[in-house]
């Protein structure tokens, strides 16, 4: 099992950031690498069990299933069902935590997965840097951060 962990500080109150990210179908609105997204079978995007089916800018298609959603903890857990990345048993969790001194948000994104031997490093960089960190950077910029 390989673990990727990325965290950042988003310059906006946690409730505000959470409104942006809790929508499981909203990746095109707040990341830079998702071209389009839909929820399969027309389910609501906050129904646990729903599947988002999205296309990356490079044309790759990914299907992910929402496993848990907590408005109390401000966290969202999901698994990859289908992707071009070559990962197995991939489960990721995005969590927001309020920073009371400053009224900003501590954001964490973690994924655990299995992959072919020797690919751990490349996948860690791709997921940690190309996906999670890139998404956080876009989120920060959208709230006026660096």
């Amino acid at each position: 099992m390989t673990r990727v962990y990325v965290s950042s500080v988003i310059p906006a109150p946690a409730a505000t950031v959470w409104r942006r990210v809790r929508d499981f179908n909203a990746l095109p609105q707040w990341t830079s690498f998702v071209a389009e997204s839909r929820i399969e079978q027309n389910l609501p995007s906050d129904k646990v069990g729903c599947i988002r089916n999205f296309t990356l800018n490079d044309g790759g298609r990914i299907r992910e299933q929402l496993l848990a959603l907590s408005d109390y903890d401000m966290s969202c857990t999901y698994a990859i069902l289908e992707s071009p990345m070559g990962v197995e048993n991939y489960v990721a969790k995005l969590t927001l935590t309020p920073v009371t001194d400053g009224n900003v948000t501590f954001a964490q994104w973690q994924a655990d997965f299995d992959c072919a031997p020797g690919r751990e490093q490349a996948l860690t960089e791709q997921i940690g840097g190309g996906v999670f960190q890139a998404a956080f950077a876009a989120l920060k910029a959208s709230f006026g951060g660096r």
Partner: protein, 516 residues
């Protein structure tokens, strides 16, 4: 059970923070409340079960026991054994998490305890502010003051101007930086030269002179701003004449400005160099092109809001916001009276109350202003504030009267406002343009069970949390079109004396903003 949870981002790598936090005997080095610390019975300070005995700065004594210590999760918990305040069953947990993209640390400090019910709020805020928040910032300062020592790496800050320091021709107002309050400034950053309007003494507009000033780099919790636009408010005139004792000569007046963050001091996490920002708060010192000030009440402004508008409208907009939401919570279909509905705050009150679904009755002093009030969305406009006004309010409310009256006129409108209110109505007196209201009997208020409020702007923007809430509410209302800030009249900074003269003579219409 009372629960307290505080958190902060420390601009220090996590291993360095954890090295200090995990030492159960280290508080005395960094926590401002602790005078002495000792581990009892000669146990190692990281042994689970160890008891520390603290003597506080105020002489109080307390004992705490380490319950868990986890180097992998960077988490520890402890309980109180003995304390000078009633925090029964107190168990606290500290947890650190890395901020991977900034080499910084997220620190969460939380606890549960059973206080006496009537002291729950007081004790919770004491624990949150004086113990946790002060402690987290205390360790950050401690580690940053050791910067350069092995193992401590400061997160890179924006490049700063490196011109040599020069002596300051003008002291910053005393209330900006009480002597001895700040620790020595970090060596990063140097002084900048700017222009400021300096008031040499109390007096007429002629005491305002443009001078070159030396602006120091931001200290802990401070920010240095390049201010492109400065808002002019009538309170600035009161400061100049000495009617309000807010500026001690020689000093710089002004409480509202907008511009760009030039650099931030240690511990400032909500702003960064390059942010477009505004503020509307004491201490005075806004009439300047460059300024260093406490960062707490400085807010970032949205991309779509112009800098001149922000400088013109933040104070008035925040005022309208707290008057309509906090002082009195205006509801749909409430009857709301706004006096001077064509003025600065009056216009915003009228627009916003009508957007909230209230039935707004506006008063103005002449025809031209009546048209402005109508354009602001008033449902009924009355010229003058005599019996006609009271009759109109009765008529428009089926004899009931107004739920709330917003009155900044003062002496000339007080009695009419009183008469126009419904049973259990609320008179919000927030100014006295026509003169002092004087002494009043409160007995007659019982004839209608009235409430009277006399709010003070400063009390609704006490700290960063309140200021952020107020500013965000205003930005949201602007974004939704509930209120609009008209284009201000722009004047150069060196025209400030003429602007003050015009303002005092009542020759101005709309807001005035000084361009630096």
């Amino acid at each position: 059970m009372t629960r307290v949870r505080e958190s902060a981002i420390l601009d220090v790598p996590i291993d360095e923070v954890w090295r200090w936090v995990r030492d159960f005997n280290s508080h005395v080095h960094w926590h401002p409340a602790i005078a002495r610390s000792e581990i009892e019975a000669g146990m190692p300070p990281d042994a689970v079960g160890a008891v520390r005995a603290f003597t506080l700065q105020d002489g109080g004594f307390l004992r705490e026991q380490l319950l868990t210590l986890d180097d992998d999760a960077r988490e520890l918990s402890y309980c109180l054994l003995e304390a000078p305040i009633p925090l029964d069953d107190y168990v606290a947990t500290i947890r650190l998490l890395p901020v991977t993209d900034a080499d910084a640390t997220f620190w969460q400090w939380e606890s549960e305890f059973n206080p006496p019910p009537d002291r729950a709020r007081e004790l919770a805020s004491l624990v949150a502010d004086d113990i946790y928040r002060a402690g987290m910032r205390g360790l950050e300062r401690h580690l940053q003051s050791r910067a350069g020592a092995p193992g401590v790496h400061r997160v890179a800050r924006p490049a700063e101007d490196t011109r040599p320091e020069r002596p300051a021709p003008v002291e910053r107002p005393r209330d900006v930086e009480p002597a001895g309050l700040h620790p020595p400034r970090a060596a990063s950053g140097s002084h900048l030269t700017g222009q400021a309007v300096v008031m040499a003494r109390h007096g007429g507009p002629e005491v305002l002179r443009l001078e070159e000033v030396d602006v120091p780099p931001p200290g802990p919790g401070e920010v240095r701003l390049r201010q492109s636009h400065v808002g002019v408010n009538f309170i600035d005139v009161y400061c100049r004449t000495g009617y309000f004792d807010l500026v001690t000569p020689p000093g710089v007046p002004g409480m509202e400005a907008a511009g760009v963050v030039e650099s931030v001091g240690p511990g400032v996490t909500h702003l960064a160099a390059g942010d477009r920002v505004a503020y509307a708060c004491p201490p005075t010192g806004a009439y300047a092109s460059v300024r260093t000030m406490g960062a707490d009440l400085v807010v970032r402004i949205p991309d779509w809001l112009g800098t001149p508008q922000a400088a013109a409208g933040l104070m008035k907009g925040v005022t309208a916001g707290f008057l309509l939401h906090d002082v009195h919570r205006v509801q749909r279909d409430d009857c709301v009276v706004v006096h001077a509905a064509a003025g600065g705050v009056g216009s915003l009150l009228t627009q916003w109350a009508s957007a909230l679904g209230a039935n707004v009755i506006a008063t103005v002093s002449d025809e031209r202003k009546a048209r402005v009030a109508e354009a602001n969305g008033a449902h009924t406009v009355v010229i003058g504030r005599g019996q006609d006004f009271v009759d109109t309010v009765r008529q428009r409310t089926g004899g009931r009267g107004a739920d709330v009256v917003y009155d900044a006129i003062g002496r000339d409108s007080f009695d009419a406002s009183f008469a126009a209110l419904a049973l259990r109505g609320h008179l919000v007196s927030f100014g006295q343009a026509s003169g002092d209201i004087g002494a009043r009997e409160i007995g007659p208020m019982s004839s209608k069970s009235l409430t009277l409020s006399r709010p003070n702007y400063g009390h609704y923007i006490l700290d960063r949390e309140m200021m952020t809430m107020q500013a965000e509410r205003l930005f949201d209302a602007l974004d939704r079109g509930f209120v609009t800030i008209p284009e201000p009249r722009l004047e150069p900074l060196d025209a400030v004396a003429q602007v003050h003269a015009d303002l005092e003579a009542g020759r101005t219409i709309g807001a005035i903003v000084l361009e630096t």
